[in-house]
């Protein structure tokens, strides 16, 4: 492991590896990534891979739109097929969702996003297997979609390494040394790296990392469960999602359906085991929307951790009280989809001192004032 680096990134998921790549692309290659497990073994490797722009706050919509622009070129840029498909997101609207959804579409449209409110019949044209009986309509945005997170993370990591970044897997951060609010070094079980700049991209464990320098993050971990079915002929273009039931599912390039469902009764914890309750709720809810899926065999189920903030928006940027301690966490379940833009902004902040898009609304200090939250959160 290098003895010193201009920046240390804690976390080898999409945010950590993406930030390493973005830094290297801007010429800062004296960077060390520290990951306690393998790459993409936390939330990045456990998520559904959805990429959505239909959000309800301006900040999230803008970040997601910019990210989609980057995702569109990412396969070429990373020399790997990230299995990106823009089959759209079909957000199911039930009777009492309709008014709010129409408002959301208006906000999205005002920011240049081509989302639209559609009738049940139109929804069925997009998903012929959809049972439209219980639904009042849907919103749809064709440029939403999904990609393979493993391809993306390993693609970022490989390119970053080619440019000179050092990635240390199975390396546990044990402490961050700071004197008078200035970071000196990061200690790990494999040695110490001297640095004055740290990016906290540790996902659901970011709170523990921040506590090492006395910073209190409001983030809480929540288990979210997900499953994969056997592969099928192609029957589903978009990601189908409902905020009422908390369900989402899409069909991957190889044919499997991957999907999950949030659980309002889930307590905050680091529990990663699979539950029978999830399997039953998921099966019932999915088969109600797509009855033909009643045939499907589930191959596996697993769980990952959402890193949830009080307003369900990420925490980005410098931290008051500790110089050059950059937060890139708190994605509340949306980290993968905004990673291309977020990591670019973090790199700009570190190298140029100023990101190309304002992120003032997303810094940690926002929690001192009044909070406007993201309403479109699964679960």
């Amino acid at each position: 492991m290098r003895e010193k680096a201009e920046a240390v990134i804690i976390g080898g998921g999409v945010t950590g590896c993406g930030t390493a790549y973005s830094l290297a692309k801007k010429g800062l290659t004296d960077v060390v990534v520290l990951e306690r497990g393998g790459l993409c073994t936390g939330a990045s490797g456990r998520c559904g891979g959805g990429i959505r722009q239909q959000f309800t706050t301006e900040a999230n919509i803008a970040l997601a739109m910019e990210s989609v622009r980057l995702f569109e070129q990412l396969s070429e840029e990373l020399d790997t097929d990230i299995e990106y498909e823009q089959g759209g997101y079909l957000i199911i609207a039930y009777e009492d969702d309709v008014d709010q959804f129409r408002k959301n579409v208006r906000l999205q449209n005002s920011l240049g996003l081509h989302s639209r409110f559609i009738t049940p019949a139109e929804a069925q044209e997009i998903v012929p297997l959809l049972n439209t009986d219980p639904i009042a309509g849907a919103t749809f945005c064709q440029t939403d979609g999904h990609a393979n997170p493993f391809r993306v993370v390993h693609g970022y990591a490989r390119k970053a390494q080619e440019m000179g970044v050092e990635i240390n897997k199975f390396t546990n951060v044990t402490d961050i040394v700071a004197v008078d609010g200035h970071i000196q070094a990061v200690r790990t079980d494999k040695g110490t790296v001297k640095t004055d700049t740290v990016v906290n991209a540790a996902g659901a464990h970011s709170r523990d990392i921040a506590a090492m320098v006395g910073v209190d993050l409001p983030n809480k971990p929540y288990r979210h469960e997900i499953l994969v079915t056997e592969p099928l002929e192609h029957v589903l273009d978009p990601m189908v999602i409902s905020f009422k039931t908390g369900i989402y599912f899409s069909q991957q390039k190889h044919g499997s359906i991957i999907g999950g469902i949030g659980d309002p009764e889930e307590p905050s914890s680091y529990n990663l085991s699979g539950s029978l309750r999830f399997l039953k709720r998921m099966a019932r809810t999915m088969v109600e929307l797509v009855p033909a899926f009643g045939h499907l065999n589930v191959l596996r189920q697993w769980a990952g951790l959402y890193d949830v903030t009080p307003d369900a928006q990420p925490i980005l940027g410098w931290t008051e009280g500790v110089d050059r301690f950059c937060q890139a966490n708190g994605y509340s379940g949306h980290g993968f989809m905004v990673a291309p833009k977020v990591t670019e902004l973090v790199a700009e902040l570190i190298v140029d001192g100023k990101p190309s898009m304002p992120i003032d609304d997303l810094t940690l200090s926002r929690f001192e004032g009044e909070i406007t939250g993201e309403a479109y959160v699964v679960g």
Binding site: E230, G255, S273, L276, L279, A283, V298
Partner: protein, 474 residues
């Protein structure tokens, strides 16, 4: 091709059944699996792989490997090697699972069951465990996805060695029948356990006749057996490359020969015994290749095979399978002392079947799911659940027995099943004055079974497993 004459087995074929394969009519006998019936009709290519459209046939024939999946009556990805053929069945090859309109119940009902001891797997370990626990008054349920109870015993036509107590001199097929007769009332066949959950004790989820059931158990004995190892060589996925166990299933359970001429890979006991069984079924065995410089199995088995004129080539490995849609030949190569191929020693065999007898790996999925500590123990076939001499794993109330607890053989599997069951009996408070004595005898029996030179590897492996368990306790 069906076997009509066999020196040991008689196949009582039941009524004729009609079904279709890719639209064409075929006949089978009641009691045959779809894959076996197709093979008897000369159909080896069952489906195509998703990405490269490679031909797919079965490999394991006992529901472990999933390479036999086909569309049956509109339901994709049915494991045809463990699904019995039925009158009027519509069987189709698949490339990807094709979704037909859902024909199942509109609202699926999940039934709930309770038992004191759940046993996963109705092989020698599972059945013996169940019979033992039942004798002490425990409620027991054995679940197995195969259409036959007895696990791999049902195809073992040779007489068992070992002690007289554990039925030495009896053929495996007979032992299976004896055990099943005792356990029949609490065995559920053609039911697959698809999940283990730790929430509030042990909860198993099983699929029976296309519907889910939930089974709450105080103790779980996992006796899921093993899966056959694959070997790396060119074209190893061609139909006609079969596990030795699959060949045994086809021949000895269904009376169907795997092909006309076979190259056997592996000269351990399994390779030698199956070679001899092939000869008994009238199949030509062109040779047995063994990568090691010496024969691994008992010499009595090797001598029998050699007397029939089958050469055994040591320090030799398979290089590739030949053929486009299925195996039409095999190329072998000699190995030097560092396991490297010796150029110029390639030898071509005209065979339609390549049989792999290159070892087994414990089926440890449920242990992994439950969070049991797993250790890599080469002497026991690789990844093995860490367990105590009483067969309890690191997850309280979950026990391992038989090949799933580390590769052994049927006698030791039965003994481990018994020990696991006695441990459950004690933990459930069902012990009698006899229990301790029976337990002591079982430990002694197991020790004797592993005392010979052929038991040495397993003995060493188990010692390592017990040592890890002890370390964890300290």
């Amino acid at each position: 091709m069906r076997i009509t004459e066999h020196p040991l087995l008689s196949f009582q074929r039941k009524r004729v059944i009609h079904f279709t394969f890719n639209g064409g009519p075929l006949e089978a006998y009641e009691g045959e699996t779809i894959a076996a019936a197709l093979h008897a009709a000369g159909i080896k290519v069952l489906s195509r792989s998703i990405t490269y459209s490679r031909p797919r046939g079965f490999f394991c024939a006992i529901g472990k490997c999933a390479s036999c999946m086909m569309n049956v009556n509109g339901v994709p990805n049915v494991k045809t090697c463990v699904t019995l053929v039925e009158e009027g069945m519509v069987v189709e090859s698949q490339h990807k699972g094709v979704l037909k309109p859902f024909t199942g119940p509109k609202k699926s009902h999940i039934s709930h069951m309770k038992t004191q001891v759940a046993v996963i797997g109705a092989g020698p370990a599972g059945l013996n465990a169940a019979v033992t626990a039942h004798a002490y008054g425990a409620s027991v349920l054995v679940i197995d996805e195969n259409p036959h109870a007895g696990g791999q015993l049902v195809k073992q036509t040779h007489k068992f060695f070992g002690s007289s107590r554990e039925r030495a001199g009896t053929r495996g097929t007979e032992i299976a029948k004896i055990l099943y007769r005792e356990a029949e009332s609490f065995v559920m066949l053609q039911a697959a356990v698809v999940g283990h959950y730790n929430d509030r004790g042990h909860r198993l989820v099983l699929v029976k006749d296309g519907t889910l059931a939930e089974l709450e158990a105080e103790k779980v004995i996992v006796a899921t057996g093993a899966s056959e190892n694959m070997l790396l060589f060119e074209n190893n996925d061609l139909p006609g490359v079969y596990g030795a166990g699959a060949v045994q299933t086809l021949m000895n359970v269904y009376g169907i020969v795997p092909g006309n001429s076979v190259l056997m890979v592996g000269a351990g006991n399994v390779g030698l015994i199956v070679s001899y069984q092939l000869l008994q079924a009238g199949v030509k065995v062109v040779g047995v290749v063994e990568a090691l410089p010496r024969i691994g199995g008992y010499h009595v088995h090797a001598a029998k095979v050699r007397r029939c004129g089958v050469p055994i080539y040591t320090s030799t490995s398979i290089l590739k399978a030949l053929g486009e849609e299925y195996v039409t030949g095999a190329v072998t190569v000699s190995l030097d002392k560092d396991w490297n191929h010796i150029p110029g020693t390639e030898r071509k065999f005209d065979v339609d079947t390549i049989c792999l007898a290159v070892g087994l790996s414990p089926s440890i999925e449920f242990f992994c799911q439950a969070g049991c500590r797993i250790a890599h123990i080469p002497e026991l076939g690789g990844n093995t659940p860490v367990h105590s001499p009483a067969m309890e794993t690191t997850v309280k109330g979950m026990y391992a027995a038989g090949d799933a607890a580390g590769i052994g053989e049927a006698n030791t599997a039965m003994m481990e099943g018994k020990i696991a069951a006695l441990s459950c009996v004690k933990a459930l408070g069902l012990s009698t004055l006899e229990t301790e004595k029976e337990s002591k005898e079982s430990y002694e029996e197991l020790r004797l079974l592993r005392s010979g030179s052929f038991g040495e590897r397993a003995r060493q492996g188990k010692e390592r497993v017990f040592a890890i368990m002890e370390e964890l306790h300290e």
